[in-house]
């Protein structure tokens, strides 16, 4: 498909045009924090910001969402479906790692039986990705075969010397492009060359990152029990607070809880993010099989690095976004786990 370009000064026009027909989410700074927020003319857009504090999973798998409502009358119950309405939207400025995270979530939510709440958001959302230019020391997407210079999505974008390059990749992306192409110019061979050069430059930067060569050897979905029984978990999990921060900022963590809220006129059943790091996650009337933080900690990382790949043709449930590296209050993270338990002579 054809590539387009637009001068960075004209981006507000592009945003406004897209926002005419649907909600547009962009990395927007509010109170010193950049997150995906709905765009408006006064928004402080930060396309330059590498990663939002929370991931973009909220847009497809919201932190809380309504499932259904119950009315109780004496012994009778009636069910009313009151799912939150889903309207077409655009998610602009997603990094390559977060784009891959949607593939990971798809494996869970679109597997039979399909989660129709998630599915309708996926169908209604157009993902516009943004190639990275200044990756950080905590980035290790490369370890998962993700190319930060060539992000997937419905449309990929590159920012080179004050120009945004725009390339639709899917039919959905093409359809959106047609609604805004009047604002853009078609890119030529020279432009193509510029993008390629910027990609090369980014690769050179990436190669120098400390985690570029992070080695996942040994995490092949096999050696499940060997890894599980490793003595190293004790030391790794020793200081974990069980705060769940790592799971909340993680683009691929997908565990959820289902809860009821009685507002006096009926019962709203909703779901919300949950965390395997919490002590009540597996609590039953007669106790929990994961008694200490060691077991909970181990579950998070075993799931991402061993169980998930074993069920999904080797796909890891981590995309190397680095969020858990910066957010953990005790500086524990998946990289330390990979280094401790990986390598040829596994556990």
């Amino acid at each position: 498909m054809m590539m387009y370009k637009i001068n960075v000064d004209r981006l507000p026009e592009l945003y406004a045009k897209m926002a005419e027909s649907r909600a547009l989410y962009l990395p927007i700074e509010k109170n010193d924090q950049v997150e995906f927020h709905p765009w408006n003319a006064d928004a402080c857009v930060r396309l330059d910001k590498l990663n939002t504090a929370k991931s973009a999973k909220d847009l497809f798998f919201p932190q809380t969402e309504n499932l259904m409502k119950f009315k109780m009358q004496g012994k009778n119950i009636s069910i009313e479906e009151n799912r939150d309405p889903v309207e077409p939207f655009v998610l602009f400025g997603v990094r390559a790692c977060d784009v891959r995270s949607f593939d990971v979530l798809d494996k869970v939510f679109l597997a039979d039986p399909v989660d129709t709440f998630y599915q309708s958001r996926r169908e209604n959302g157009v993902v516009i990705s943004m190639a990275c230019h200044e990756p950080e020391e905590t980035c290790f997407c490369h370890a998962f075969g993700i190319d930060a210079a060539d992000p997937a999505g419905d449309i990929s974008c590159w920012m080179v010397e004050g120009t945004l390059y725009w390339k639709p990749l899917t039919e959905k992306g093409q359809a959106l492009t047609e609604t805004v192409s009047a604002l853009m110019e078609q890119a030529g061979d020279q432009d193509q060359a510029k993008v390629e050069e910027s990609q090369k430059a980014l690769h050179a930067v990436m190669e120098k990152l400390p985690l570029y060569d992070l080695d996942l050897t040994g995490f092949d979905g096999d050696h499940l029990l060997e890894k599980f029984n490793s003595e190293k978990w004790a030391k790794l999990s020793e200081a974990c607070l069980g705060c769940g921060s790592c799971t909340f900022v993680c683009p691929t963590c997908q565990c959820y809880d289902i809860r009821d809220y009685d507002n006096g006129h009926g019962v709203q059943r909703y779901r919300c993010w949950d965390s395997c790091m919490y002590s009540d996650f597996t609590m039953m009337a007669h106790g929990t099989p994961r008694k200490t933080q060691l077991e909970k900690f181990r579950q998070r990382f075993m799931h991402k690095l061993v169980y998930f790949p074993s069920n999904n043709d080797g796909m890891y449930s981590c995309v190397g976004c680095g969020r858990c590296l910066t957010k953990c209050p005790i500086s524990m993270n998946i990289v330390k786990v990979i280094k401790a338990l990986g390598g040829e002579n596994h556990a």
Partner: protein, 277 residues
């Protein structure tokens, strides 16, 4: 019947009978609003029952799939939702969704085999379904032995049905036991795992064990002492569940989700899973 394709959205069921089984176990009969059954199931499968505002939880379906009139659930009182369920009267509506999980291989591996069912306490609930299924299709299976134990005589679930129907049927041997001697009980006294060893079953049987984790563990060890292989023994696993469809992550253990890959496992399969149950 259902307009939505969303698995998390239940249908309404109505309680059509309540039976007091033991001081802390009641059996609830559930029908759909039109008087039929909410779904078909296979023995060993479970369903999510809920009282909106109180909670939703997974229960094994106690009735046999061959029963097309209603579904039954034998439920032990052990916490918030089950306390509430125990207060229910006939006519109470609840929500129900399912069936979930893998059933016992009643139409494959079990066919032509001599079957040995071993239950402890409320562990009879999942076995009740498979036992009655096998009784219904009696000629598909060899001999049937049932060992069932509880704390006391009063804690034996379905005691009347066992006495009146199972014990009187030809080709079915029932062995009951209670943990401690009790007035009015002239049957066997002792724990299930020991009783199983005493009974010295023939090792060519296919066995199913259901009960508390500790009872399963010792009974399996007992069977192995008799010469049984783990590949001949099945059991069911119980973990906390929320979605029932392998997505919420709650019941994940190793590369399995108990809600969809279980609750029935063959004991050799358990060796490949982390010991987290």
């Amino acid at each position: 019947m259902r307009e939505t394709m969303e698995a998390l959205i239940p249908t309404i069921g109505v309680v059509t009978d309540v039976r007091v089984d033991t001081p802390d176990v009641k059996t609830f009969r559930v029908n759909s609003l039109d008087g039929g059954i909410p779904f078909d199931h296979m023995p060993g499968q479970c369903a999510m029952l809920s009282i909106p505002g109180v909670g939703e939880a997974m229960f094994s379906i106690t009735s046999s799939p061959t029963n097309k009139e209603y579904k039954e659930f034998s439920i032990k009182k052990c916490g918030c939702l089950t306390d509430w369920l125990h207060q229910m009267e006939v006519g109470q509506q609840i929500t129900i969704r399912g069936p979930y999980g893998h059933a016992f291989p009643v139409d494959t591996e079990f066919v032509g085999k001599d079957l040995l069912f071993i239950a402890g306490g409320i562990g009879l609930a999942p076995l009740h379904s498979v036992i009655n299924y096998c009784r219904h299709y009696r000629d598909r299976y060899g001999s049937i032995d049932i060992v069932y134990g509880s704390r006391s005589k009063d804690d034996l679930v379905d005691y009347q049905e066992i006495l009146n129907e199972w014990c009187t049927e030809e080709g079915i041997n029932v062995y009951l036991t209670i943990d401690r001697p009790q007035e009015g009980w002239d049957g066997h006294v002792g724990f299930v795992p020991n009783y199983v060893k005493e009974l010295n079953f023939d090792v060519n049987k296919t066995a199913v064990i259901c009960g508390p984790p500790i009872m399963i563990k010792f009974t399996l060890a007992g069977l192995q002492e008799l010469g049984f292989e783990k590949t001949q023994v099945y059991t069911t696993m119980e973990l906390r569940m929320k979605c029932g469809i392998g997505k919420c992550g709650r019941c994940n253990i190793g590369d399995k989700y108990v809600c969809k890959d279980g609750p029935v496992f063959r004991c050799d399969q358990l060796d490949e899973l982390p010991n987290e149950y």
